[in-house]
Amino acid sequence: MVTRPNYDETTNYLYFWSGLVIKEARKHGVDIYDLIGKKATKKNFDSYLKSQKPDILFLNGHGDEKTITGHDSEPILESGEKEPVNKAIIYARSCDAASVLGKKLIVDGARVFIGYLRKFIFGYTLSKMTRPLEDSLAKLFLEPSNLVVTTIIKGHSAQVAHEHSKKVMLENFKKMISTMATYEEKYAARWLWGNINSQVLYGEKSAMV
């Protein structure tokens, strides 16, 4: 199951870039439930979670230590609730959620939580705002984060996916601080370093689907 609301600049970028994961998943014959735009509500999320028990939850949206949100910042997962996460592997491309909520979701029954201890950050190019997939700067941040899910879909473990994603982030980071990088890339490199330091995995490292 994928949540990808689209109501501001940040969610618009995540919406388009998570679309590439969906395409890849479909190529591998994976059934997708896509909570797209306004469909990313708590009601739809809970309904599908309980009825279909998805193996992977790929969550894109704003968040904080205790919450991950859907459309219009409606909370869809909260640390104060017992969430029916059904042994899912969860990747939350959302701010801060690893620090409290991620650990709580493991207690609630998720097999894995991959997310960020601090803010998930990405740089983007103003002139590409209306065409996020053409934004080569945003690509340096969002393509390696997509790898968390696409690597799992290809049959690898959660730990391999987490490490592969961080490895590619690091490769991008090194390109960004090299003499070949543009000024924008060099400047944005510090933010990617923040994501590398902040991405963590909790739960069953060997979990696969």
């Binding site: 701010c95 803010k119 705002m129 090194k174």
Partner: protein, 81 residues
């Protein structure tokens, strides 16, 4: 990798020095660049405002600046092969 748990871990002098560095770096942020952090999308002038206010976003961005500079200085970036 060098990780600082929080802005509150720094003493007053460290915070002042970090703020100066972060503001100086923010002044040279390219105009065609924005950053998405939390629920905000920030341009150069907003970045400066958050750092000046030392609000949650400003603290986060200053800590990232500090970790980045420490990693560059220590060579940690090149050890993460």
């Amino acid at each position: 990798m060098t990780t600082i748990n929080g802005y509150q871990d720094l003493n007053k002098n460290q915070k002042e020095e970090l703020k100066k560095i972060a503001l100086a770096r923010a002044q040279v942020m390219p105009k065609n660049l924005n950053v998405s952090i939390g629920s905000e999308t920030i341009n150069k002038s907003e970045l400066i405002r958050h750092i000046n206010k030392e609000d949650r976003i400003g603290e986060n961005l200053m800590l990232i600046e500090l970790e980045f500079l420490r990693a560059l200085a220590s060579g940690a970036i090149y050890r993460n092969e």
